[in-house]
């Protein structure tokens, strides 16, 4: 039998942990995450996260950031210094982010008050509203999370502009207006945003635009951003995201890693 193989996984969310768990008999697995807790967007408290942490059998390197991959070694940095993790394969399971302005085709000016839903949610949880009359572009998980949190942070009127049908129900609140099948085309305002123009030509006055539409994989390890050598990507972008989808992506990635390693063994 060949020497035990090693696998590095970037991202300790449900996907990364599921992948680690599925590989526990095949390889020595190290899971790296820049956040000092496991669970990713799902959080560390739910039972699914804690069970996976308990059974995955992997070394968890949490609070450590993966920087570069050269096909053999993953460079990681954390508060105790930089270190290199040799690995026969790399799994990128670092989740997804909402689309940015060029990806959404939103033109116009670049004033303050145009923020990603991730940021709007984080600030709102800390009591800071990015706007009191925001337009939120999107109709899925991030759009609803941003709506709820901005309402809690004091928003007075929210317009949800959803390019497609709503993927999740909008908050049942008289302060939330929904425009389905519409798209923000242009940002208007200098200094701070004052309005958006929809593709239909409608102008909506607002004091913030929250970008919450769509999901794209978030990849930040140099050498593994597009087509990394010996790299498997496990980044579901379904909206709404579910634990089931994440677990399936983790298992699929584990299978891809196994076939990558088996192919090499049989060479």
């Amino acid at each position: 039998m060949a020497e035990r193989r090693s696998v590095a996984i970037v991202g300790a969310g449900i996907t990364g942990l599921s992948c680690a768990a599925a590989l526990r008999h095949d390889a020595a697995v190290t899971v790296v995450d820049r956040i000092p807790v496991a669970g990713g967007v799902h959080g560390w408290k739910p039972a699914e996260t804690r069970e996976l942490v308990a059974v995955c059998g992997a070394t968890l390197a949490l609070g450590e950031t993966a920087l570069r991959w050269d096909g053999r070694e993953l460079l990681v940095i954390g508060q105790h210094g930089a270190w290199r993790q040799p690995a026969d394969a790399l799994v990128i399971a670092s989740g997804a982010r909402p689309l940015g302005r060029p990806e959404l085709g939103v033109v116009g000016s670049r004033p303050a008050g145009v923020v990603a839903a991730t940021v709007a949610c984080h600030l709102a949880e800390n009591g800071l509203a990015v706007g009191l009359n925001p337009v939120i572009m999107g109709g899925g998980d991030w759009a609803m999370a941003a709506s709820r949190r901005l309402l809690a942070a004091g928003a007075r009127a929210i317009t949800l502009v959803s390019p497609g049908p709503l993927l999740r129900p909008a908050p049942d609140d008289r302060r939330v207006a929904v425009r389905e099948g519409e798209r923000v085309a242009e940002v208007i305002g200098r200094g701070r945003i004052c309005a958006v123009q929809l593709a239909s030509g409608t102008r909506i006055e607002c004091d913030a635009l929250v970008l919450a539409h769509g999901l794209v994989p978030l990849r930040n390890v140099d050498g593994a951003v597009w087509d990394g050598h010996r790299t498997v990507y496990a980044q579901p972008t379904g909206d709404p995201a579910t634990v089931h989808i994440a677990k399936a992506a983790g298992s699929a990635a584990a299978a891809a890693v196994r076939s990558l390693l088996d192919l090499e063994d049989g060479r």
């Binding site: 920087l67 940095i77 508060q79 033109v107 000016s109 800390n126």
Partner: protein, 475 residues
């Protein structure tokens, strides 16, 4: 009492401040915006041209070529990224190809290194180039430079040498005694001075009018750009451009010093100096032009679009003493070679100030000549060493550009420190990467409150008043 007030904290004004800072002159640099480098100096291609596309015999050609050879040494002193990778001006049609020999002669008569190569040779130099390339002019001495770090580097070294840097200080009046300026009113402060340098970019005309000097006409020439992922820029070996025409240099594909890829600019004359909006038709045009040169570029790799206004003017490129006001020097109308000619412009301004009797001829023995380079995590050759220098290097705040808490802390420790989230981006690149802050803006905002002591409601994105959050949510 100052010897010189420099008006304008773009690349030209900052370069002048830097050049004067090692002399015995007492200098103040004033900038209207909340930070330095807020105009064309932060919105440009980042090409340090060697002068191949300048018109022979012009002052611009002379100052660009005079600046070119010194970039490696200067950038080392200013802790500014620079790489001399060369430009290919690519002809894809017979008409364009026919213009290359003339452009070649023009470049050679400016004393600029240039080689005429066939399409195959051009593709060997840059394998990403279109198969339609028929021929190209290669300018091996062109470089790519981080124009923001250059501008801030000039100003930082100037400030360390005692130049007073005043931001958020628009000039509202200039007092005269006959044909001499005696004071500048900026940001509500009256600064008495022996001389003034007008390096106000788009506001050159305003400043000259306030001073009672020559009449200028300036207007914004807007350029729109795409910024593409670092993964794309990292695959380029050369700056790739088209064949310049009499009207414009056209759209370039420019790998940046941190491996992003810039596409642009367009050149459209406008009236509104504050308009930096992008529009779909123009962005489409930029992308189409870029794809004619490099078919591989794709929209899904775009991380940002933006517009910037370069100062078009009549007269163009005027670095000279004012014809009426004896102690006013213009460094004005420098539309698109501000970065590329800034060292020589600064030297010429110094000469002109010396001619009018300013004490700029003696170098101070104690002057600081170089900035201490700040280690940066991205592409660092020995990252293992960094955490020992400062444990905050282990804390990666912006993962797209791999910017650490140590680098962000340094941005607030500068003599001309960050005072806004945009100021942090310009000094560190944090929030400037592929997710455009979606994952790090909150962390950067927290560090901003930590380093400046400001409350979360008052975190400035850019200009004061343009805050990240809105106050009054609880009220």
């Amino acid at each position: 009492m100052r010897d010189v007030v420099v008006i304008g904290g773009g690349v030209v004004g900052s370069a002048v401040a830097w050049r004067l800072s090692t002399t015995t002159a007492r200098v103040t640099l004033v900038e209207a915006a909340h930070d330095l480098c807020e105009g064309a100096s932060k919105g440009n291609t980042g090409i340090a041209t060697s002068g191949g596309d300048c018109h022979p015999g012009t002052l611009e050609a002379e100052l660009v070529t005079r600046s070119s050879a010194g970039w490696e040494a200067l950038c080392a002193r200013l802790d500014t990224p620079f790489q001399r990778i060369g430009t290919l001006a690519v002809a894809t049609t017979i008409e364009e190809q026919a213009r290359l020999p003339e452009l070649h002669r023009q470049a050679r008569s400016c004393g600029v290194a240039a080689d005429l190569v066939d399409g195959e040779a051009a593709r060997r130099m840059e394998p990403l180039l279109t198969v339609e390339a028929r021929a190209a002019l290669h300018f091996p001495d062109d470089g790519i430079i981080d124009s923001i770090r250059l501008t801030l580097g000039y100003a930082e070294l100037a400030a360390r040498n005692g130049v007073e840097v005043l931001r958020s200080s628009p000039v509202t009046a200039i007092e005269r005694d006959g044909d001499r300026i005696v004071a500048v009113i900026a940001g509500g402060r009256r600064i008495t001075t022996c001389a003034v340098v007008n390096a106000a970019g788009l506001e050159t005309d305003t400043i000259s009018r306030l001073a009672g000097g020559e009449s200028f006409r300036t207007w914004p020439r807007q350029g729109q750009y795409w910024l593409l992922d670092r993964e794309m820029g990292g695959r380029f070996r050369k700056v790739v451009g088209g064949v310049p025409t009499a009207v414009t240099r056209g759209v370039y594909c420019v790998p940046t010093t941190n491996r992003s890829l810039l596409l642009g600019p367009t050149a459209v004359d406008r009236d509104d100096r504050g308009d930096r909006a992008v529009d779909e038709a123009t962005l489409d045009e930029v992308f189409a032009a870029a794809r004619r040169l490099v078919p591989l570029v794709r929209r899904e790799h775009a991380i940002k679009t933006f517009a910037a206004n370069r100062p078009a003017s009549d007269p163009v490129y005027r670095v000279a003493r004012d014809a009426r006001i004896e102690n006013l020097v213009h460094a004005a109308g420098i539309r698109s070679t501000g970065v590329s000619s800034s060292p020589a412009v600064a030297e010429l301004v110094r000469d002109l100030l010396e001619q009018i009797g300013l004490p700029v001829d003696r170098e101070r023995p104690d002057a600081i000549l170089a900035l201490q380079p700040l280690p940066r995590l991205l592409d660092h050759l020995e990252p293992e060493r960094l955490v020992a220098l400062d444990p905050r290097y282990g804390q990666v705040i912006c993962t797209c550009e791999q910017v650490t808490a140590a680098e962000i802390a340094a941005a607030y420790r500068m003599h001309v420190p960050a005072s806004s989230l945009e100021g942090v981006r310009k000094r560190t690149r944090a929030t400037g990467g592929r997710c455009q802050g979606a994952y790090c803006l909150a962390g950067v905002s927290f560090l901003h409150t930590l380093h400046t002591g400001c409350t979360p409601e008052r975190i400035a994105v850019g200009e004061p008043g343009a805050t990240l959050g809105v106050a009054g949510a609880d009220g």
